[in-house]
């Protein structure tokens, strides 16, 4: 058990710190959350800087255009960029952490050459078209249909909760290519397609979240033509491909946020000392407990990263579900405590903690609800029987 970094890792960290210190002051001001074109430009501009400096796709394999960095180096990258207050992945989330890694591990050489470099350069933005109005937790029951017509699939149906759909160039889309029947259970017959978002027949209708902004959208598909060549993985084998995608989403997507939460916790303590709330032992103890919680979540992250480094696959295991369950809950507790620290200020939308408190509510829902994660832990890690 070794928590120290090697010389190589430390020099990587030092170089990154130096680059961040040089680069961050030159960034443009952050756009307003309601300005989507502005947000896209800001996020992709940041990605371009990372690319030019050699930090794009750090953990992607070399033959996918990545840097072939170890999981530890990737962890250092996420830690240092967060500590320095660098921009988040933002609109690049699906491309970098989700669709990209999926294409890197499941795509053909042509597909990798077509889609991966623009993601790394910040030229193209992806969104995720998995969920449907009637297929949420039960994702495999999705009904968006794709028929073969020559070299194209013709796709009709609707998707919902599609984050960044308004500004995306591509959508990782799950479609049904074989109807469910006695011989075809619902998990078979699904295919994974890369759909260009400017294809005729696509209508995007933004949805307003409880935080007021339009973070996601409904996407209606009316006989949209998608080339068969855009299918990643075999026809009807999309569920397996999807499992690869989801393990990335649950495994690595929240790492930087743990660092951010620890910073927020320190800010909460500072604010409470200033406004007198610190004298309340109940609140103080609550913050102390959160400190133990986020400290341990960071250690669990290091544990999981070391595990995937040893396995040599870089693919996060089901341990990601253990982490996600605890982290999403802890994040909500953190912002509940923030409400307590702020007192009446907690009702002021002008305070960033109030907005963060609102958005923390999505964490136990998005990327698989906490109930579903508990099913996964119980069935796949503990081996309890599947049931109704």
């Amino acid at each position: 058990m070794d928590l120290t970094c090697t010389e190589e890792e430390e020099s990587f960290r030092a170089g990154l710190r130096e680059w961040l210190a040089r680069t961050l002051p030159g960034l443009p001001p952050r756009p307003d959350p309601t300005n989507w074109p502005g947000r896209r430009a800001y996020d992709t501009g940041w990605q371009r800087r990372l690319y030019d400096a050699g930090y794009a796709g750090l953990h992607w394999p070399l033959d996918a255009g990545g840097r072939g960095a170890t999981p530890t180096q990737h962890l250092i990258f996420l830690e240092e960029t967060e500590k320095a207050g660098a921009p988040y992945v933002g609109a690049n989330f699906v491309g970098l952490l989700h669709a990209g890694p999926t294409i890197a591990s499941e795509g053909t050489p042509e597909q990798r050459a077509r889609w991966l470099p623009p993601v790394l350069r910040g030229d193209e933005v992806w969104c995720q078209g998995f969920s449907e109005p009637d297929a949420g937790s039960d994702l495999a029951s999705l009904r968006t249909r794709a028929w073969r017509d020559g070299d194209d699939y013709v796709v009709s149906g609707s998707k919902i909760w599609t984050s960044h759909a308004e500004v995306a160039d591509w959508c990782e889309l799950l479609v049904r290519t074989a109807p469910v029947s006695e011989d075809v259970p619902k998990h078979r017959g699904i295919s994974w397609l890369a759909m260009p978002m400017d294809a005729p027949g696509i209508t995007v209708r933004p949805l307003r979240t409880l935080a007021g902004s339009t973070e996601f959208a409904e996407v209606f598909l009316d006989e949209v033509r998608v080339p068969v060549a855009n299918r990643v993985g075999a026809e009807n084998d999309g569920w397996r491909v999807t499992m690869v995608t989801l393990s990335y989403e649950r495994g690595t997507a929240f790492v930087g946020e743990v660092v951010a939460c620890r910073r927020v916790l320190a800010d909460l303590a500072r604010e409470a000392r200033k406004n007198g709330r610190w004298d309340d032992a109940v609140l103080r103890r609550r913050l102390g407990r959160l400190s133990a919680e986020f400290g341990a979540l960071w250690r669990l992250t290091q544990w999981n990263v070391s595990e995937s480094q040893r396995a040599g696959t870089g693919v996060p295991g089901v341990g990601g579900s253990v982490f996600k369950l605890r982290y999403s809950h802890a994040r909500q507790e953190l912002y509940e405590a923030a409400g307590e620290v702020l007192g009446p200020g907690a009702l002021d939308l002008g305070h960033e903690w109030t907005l963060d408190r609102l958005s923390s509510l999505s964490y136990t829902i998005a990327a698989g609800t906490s109930q579903i994660q508990q099913n996964i832990v119980a069935e796949r890690i503990l081996g309890l029987p599947k049931g109704r």
Binding site: M1, A292, Q302, W303, R310, V322, N375, I381, L384, G387
Partner: protein
């Protein structure tokens, strides 16, 4: 960074697990529980000494094993799993300064205390050496059938400073117990059927088990990391999370066992009672939270 067990650490842990499985298995545990007055198995204590349990951190040039806190935590985790009785922590920490402790020939106890609740001393009557001020100690009727306790009036703790290493080793025992009760619950949930199916197929049971694992794994990360860094606030956090994992794990395990869980015959209550005792020894939750808050 390589925050995983090394080959040697795995072998050490497996070795102690095997030793305890052979020498202090479920039958031996029940025999100890049902013997009436708890007494220490001195032969077992010496065997542990021979296996290097107490001398694990004593430097090699002093005849010890020369390993560190991370290894210590692994063997205490095994002791916690097996519900091994005795003042293991105090004897372990006395290995360098009390003659005979490292060999398991001398049993040492100490006042393990929390500042507000006064001092508690486990196994005072059986120990050869007691460290800390035990004058005026009065026996309690201990809730744990395998941990006799004395109380030192007037908070003997005022004189005993906090011992982070003791807290860490207690946390490691709690971790072992949490892992064990999770396994016990899962095994029972797969065997016991009601309504024509294994109760583990019911989601309410499944989610109890899932949370037991989550609490165990978060405590594991905290305890192992605290052993690597030796950092006092990190140890405080590890004790806090491990106490919770052990106590809540045992309670949920009891719930999964239904009426059987409420019996003397099932081992569940032994884990719960020992977890309560360990939570009451060393740093309390309130103290840990205050220490962590102060460090923010």
């Amino acid at each position: 960074m390589d925050f995983q067990l090394s080959e040697d650490q795995r072998a050490l842990r497996d070795g102690f697990r095997d030793l305890l499985a052979g020498r202090f298995d479920g039958t031996a545990l029940r025999a100890a529980v049902d013997s009436g007055a708890p007494s220490l198995d001195r032969a077992l204590w010496r065997e542990l000494g021979d296996a290097g349990f107490f001398a694990l951190r004593v430097p090699e040039e002093e005849g010890g094993v020369g390993l560190g806190l991370p290894e210590a935590v692994l063997i205490f985790e095994e002791a916690g799993r097996a519900l091994l009785p005795g003042p293991l922590v105090a004897t372990f920490l006395a290995a360098r300064d009390v003659e005979g402790a490292a060999r398991g020939a001398v049993v040492v106890t100490s006042v393990l205390t929390t500042a507000d609740s006064g001092g508690l001393v486990p196994w005072l009557d059986e120990a050869d050496v007691a460290r800390g001020d035990v004058s005026g100690a009065v026996p309690l009727r201990s809730v744990d059938p395998l941990t006799p306790l004395h109380r030192v009036p007037g908070g003997g703790g005022a004189a005993t400073p906090r011992q982070p290493e003791a807290d860490l080793l207690i946390a490691a025992e709690q971790l072992g117990s949490a892992g064990k009760t999770c396994e016990m619950a899962v095994r029972y949930a797969r065997e016991r059927t009601q309504f024509g199916q294994a109760i583990g197929a019911f989601q309410a049971v499944k989610h109890l088990c899932a949370q037991m694992l989550v609490r165990t794994e978060i405590a594991r990360a905290a305890v192992y990391a605290a052993a690597v860094t030796g950092d006092a606030p990190e140890i405080a956090g590890a004790k806090l999370l491990a106490d919770e994992a052990a106590v809540r794990g045992a309670r949920d395990c009891l719930q999964v066992h239904g009426g059987m869980g409420f019996t003397w015959e099932a081992d569940v209550h032994l884990h719960l009672k020992r977890a309560w005792v360990r939570a009451g020894l060393g740093q309390s939750a309130a103290e840990a939270e205050e220490e962590l808050a102060a460090a923010l």
